[in-house]
Symmetry: C2
Subunit: 365 residues, 2 copies
């Protein structure tokens, strides 16, 4: 079926990428024989077809990912799961795009480092090692003197926040490439075969919406829902004003069509690093557990750069952002949970993690 031309994903165009960008090779995972044998193992005699519904699809995806070893696939095995939260600030916050002050980015990072964030409890519960990456927070992050780190902080600052994208590209192409490489590097040095990715960054939902709009042809007004500016309290005129500002920004960067150009013009440092992290993790055949809207935008960029990455992405949840729903549709992804979170930080990814353990258990039976 021919797609409505308005909605034809621009991402299908072969992107022209600079020689400085080194993308890892990602193998596709399709394996019809494996799927066939697993379906029989999952539904032994007497169960209705597809009795396990979407759990079946999850088992199959995980098995395809882990089928790359020299041995024949038998059981799912998860090893040293990692949660990496990338934090950065966004110049666009200056335009009053969030109910939260920009300083809250730093505040949220501190809470993660001190083990006081909601996701900290989940990471501890599920045995995830948490690593926080300063991808470009606008200030220098220092813990109170007498405080103890509960999670390590990696300093990978590309800049002190992106530029206000109303005034110019959020970052240069060189910065975008550096951020992608940094994200790959972070993953390369982490152990395990599961990696969950989350984000912190005041106003980063704006970048997610702009990327969704640009890379998938979704109208900006749809990508930025009425409730999406972190706080359901804004009135119609404020909302309309914001949409108009963002339309002006999108139009200023109308030539940034390819994934790397769009990422540089409209993205954020943490989005770029998450993109790199996803690509690297997939190239190492790790399971990539994707958190909310902003991590989803990184997935969109990653898929545009290297389509096979999609095989490795497990989408933890659908957040309260209306753009997130459209983004998942464009990625043809069904998230595991739909809990209406508006939080980021990997919270939704870790809430969904027990379903992957259940997939493992269902296969072991």
């Amino acid at each position: 079926m021919a797609l409505d031309p308005v909605f034809e994903p621009i991402t299908r165009r072969a992107p022209e990428l600079p020689a400085s960008l080194k993308l890892p090779h990602i193998a596709p995972t399709a394996d019809t024989l494996l799927e066939h044998s697993l379906k029989r193992r999952l539904a032994p005699g007497g169960l209705p077809e597809h009795a396990l519904g979407r759990m079946e699809a999850l088992v199959l995806q995980l098995a395809r990912i882990q089928n790359g070893s020299p041995l024949a696939f038998d059981l799912l095995a998860f090893d040293s799961p990692q949660l990496v939260v990338f934090a950065a600030d966004h110049g666009i916050a200056d335009e009053g795009m969030s109910e939260l002050a920009q300083s809250m980015t730093c505040e949220h990072v501190l809470q993660l480092l001190l083990g006081a964030a909601p996701v900290s409890a989940l990471a501890q519960m599920h045995g995830f090692d948490l690593t926080v990456v300063d991808a470009g927070v606008a200030s220098h992050i220092t813990l109170p003197e007498d405080a103890r780190h509960k999670a390590p902080l990696l300093l990978r600052k590309i800049g002190y926040g992106t530029r206000n994208l109303m005034l110019g590209p959020a970052m240069s192409q060189a910065q975008a490439v550096s951020a992608l490489h940094a994200g790959m590097d972070v993953v390369r040095h982490l152990p395990g075969n599961v990696i969950a990715l989350g984000d912190v960054g005041v106003a980063n939902g704006v970048s997610a919406s702009l990327l969704l709009s640009r890379l998938c042809g979704v109208p900006l007004a749809d990508a930025c829902g009425r409730d999406d500016f972190q706080g359901p309290g804004i009135d119609d005129s404020v909302h309309q004003q914001r949409i108009e500002k963002l339309s002006a920004a999108a139009s200023r960067h109308r030539k940034a069509l390819g994934p790397l150009d769009a990422l540089a013009a409209l993205g954020g440092f943490e989005i770029a690093m998450m993109t790199g992290a996803m690509l690297q993790a997939a190239s190492e055949r790790r399971v990539v557990l994707v958190d909310g809207y902003v991590a989803g935008a990184a997935a969109l960029v990653a898929r545009s750069l290297s389509p096979n990455v999609a095989d490795y992405l497990v989408f933890g949840h659908r957040s309260a952002d209306s753009g997130h729903r459209l983004l998942l549709i464009h990625l043809q992804a069904q998230p595991l949970l739909d809990m209406g979170l508006r939080l980021g930080q990997g919270t939704g990814a870790l809430l969904a993690w027990p379903l992957l353990l259940a997939a493992q258990g269902l296969l072991e039976r």
Copy 2:
């Protein structure tokens, strides 16, 4: 707003119940003060409002349930969680209402007893004690001689399957009352403060649809979706034939309007026992984790008998049955998961259990 008279829930009429039926007292759980203080604990400074989305609602519900102790509420505590699977046969299976032969009920019970069902793996993973109750399987259940029970079987057989409800009420009112009491009794003898309820019974989705239609005024054709007869393979004429048969049955039992009468005429032994189990568990302030469509139908009957029970019900998931969606809407319930299962046996309830543990963890932080 006045409701369309067709859709006015018949359950709102005060049911006339026989003196022989002894329903336990169930206290409502509402506590505005508690909710207020918990919301503050869950979202400390700097998080957007309702950042935890539906996890917040889950924490609040669980806290309200556990707030009944003499001490002031502090943290959620789960103790000895129980999974009880009620099994029974349905005379309506004679009418070709399921792709599965009636003998599969017994087969599924054996798999549960031997620890070979999908839910067995989940129960073991999450430390649930599994109890299987023979509420009315059509045959005598015997394990192979050399097999070892992995789960106890309670014999509470009300009959060898219900009557074919095309020909008369599925059970007598006295049987329905006995089954309700048996369900209460089963729960009374189990430890812990969490109980998950699942079902086994070929063609029991038909009873669920008839109860939904009768107690909520949903048209039968909507309550019985095209895919709902356990197997997506049937063609339109077969489907239409089934709907016509069920309409005839519903019309035969048109006087069975109250919840007990509807349960007797259209229900099943396992549905009646689950109803009793829910009422008893709620009266003891246990958390009741409800599985799929059939357990949902029991919840509908339970709420019609004793509205306060709703405060204690946590709906684990939405199954593939299209009637289940309507049932949950009528119960004003948002299920935790939506995984397209078509399985019963408590599988969806146990898949959702980690979200209750996450709720506990988020509050402890």
